[in-house]
Symmetry: C2
Subunit: 234 residues, 2 copies
């Protein structure tokens, strides 16, 4: 791609596995409160608490733990026991302490990109949790900048570009969320590469109007990124 100098990379489900950890936790949560409630509206209730609590707690696992507890209290009619609440908190602690599992080809790709581009890690969520994951990932050395953001929308990206003196036409964003990594970037007139992950949190799912003709490209695998950039820059 011509003129690209800075590549921003999303982290969760772009560099390492994230959403499947939530999926496993959903299953364990279902087991804990299974005696109080049928499975039918559990996911819907939990998602309702998550969305309402986003405005108070922001993104991240600590807010998710609190949403699980509130869901359990409501769906059990207040009968959830102290021991079961502790089990829910422990599920969250296991998530926070989960080993960081890199996606295939990530480290090799960063090695190939590092000499030619300024690499920025741009991730959304809880500061403490994300810093811990970056440290545990072993990938920190590849990044010139790391920015942990409370939201990934046009205004936030604009501030990040401005703060780091990056021109819109020099910037490329790479990530697995159309909503957070791709659409706001396209709306700013910058370029983006969408690398889908097999599971997406429903909050991040958007329907893209095919007629919008947005200037992003889709790659099936991050390993294809260096070759794609080289081919496009010729």
């Amino acid at each position: 791609m011509k003129n690209i100098k800075v590549i921003g990379l999303d982290a969760d489900d772009t560099l390492w596995v994230n959403e499947p950890i939530f999926t496993v936790t959903h299953e364990r949560f279902r087991e804990i409160i299974g005696k109080y409630v049928g499975a039918e509206n559990l996911d819907e209730k939990l998602y309702g608490y998550e969305i309402r609590n986003l405005k108070i707690f922001g993104y991240g696992i600590k807010g998710f733990i609190l949403s699980m507890i509130e869901t359990a209290i409501e769906l059990s009619g207040g009968k959830i026991s102290g021991a079961e609440v502790q089990q829910i908190i422990n599920l969250g602690k296991v998530m926070l302490d989960h080993p960081v599992e890199l996606l295939p080809g990530v480290e090799e790709t960063l090695q190939l990109l590092q000499p030619d581009y300024t690499l920025m890690l741009l991730t959304k969520g809880d500061l403490f949790d994300q810093e811990s994951k970056i440290a545990r990932s072993g990938l920190a050395e590849y990044f010139d900048h790391v920015e942990i953001l409370s939201e990934k929308d046009e205004a936030t990206y604009q501030r990040v570009l401005k703060r780091n003196n990056i021109a819109v036409d020099e910037f490329l964003m790479v990530g697995n969320s159309l909503k957070s990594d791709i659409l706001p970037i396209c709306n700013l007139g910058a370029r983006a590469i969408y690398i889908p992950f097999h599971t997406t949190w429903i909050h991040e799912v958007v329907t893209v109007d095919a007629s919008a003709n947005l200037a992003y490209h889709e790659l099936p695998d991050i390993s294809l990124l260096p070759a794609y950039l080289q081919q496009q820059s010729v």
Copy 2:
């Protein structure tokens, strides 16, 4: 003070009231679990959970809510009810939504300093909560940079200075915590002004060895800062 170009200011209990909100919450928490437990070892137990959970949750109100819940479960022998757990969560939500109450003289001081210094807000804690407080404080416009840090130690301050191209002898840090705002700065060879607040979280309390002869100055009130800086720079 000579050569100072950049002033870093702490936020909680330096610019606005924070610790008293925790104190009020402690009292409400005591009321909620009062039927299960005597008052004697409640604070100690809660502090024990807070400290152990700092490594998993980091600083901030969401982690504090979870520590209150764990304390309540343990001290009630698991008898705490769902409704009471919900009350504890609601205490936390009230804290997160608490109006930001500026300390006396803060806004006038920032107005006086802004023309002559680059002002940085350097605060520790939860990204989402701190961003929300900064926005609600109405003070964002006075700051050239805002950095929300997961820890305030020498290594973190060093990274902040490096990232923003600030020389150690051009930097002054102002805050209410000897542990987080003053000692690491003095250890880096930069200057600091300590403005005590009447309440300090026990985790932030340190004993300063008088013989250490650290190069910080104490002011009783932030309003005295502009005059002090002017007088010292003559």
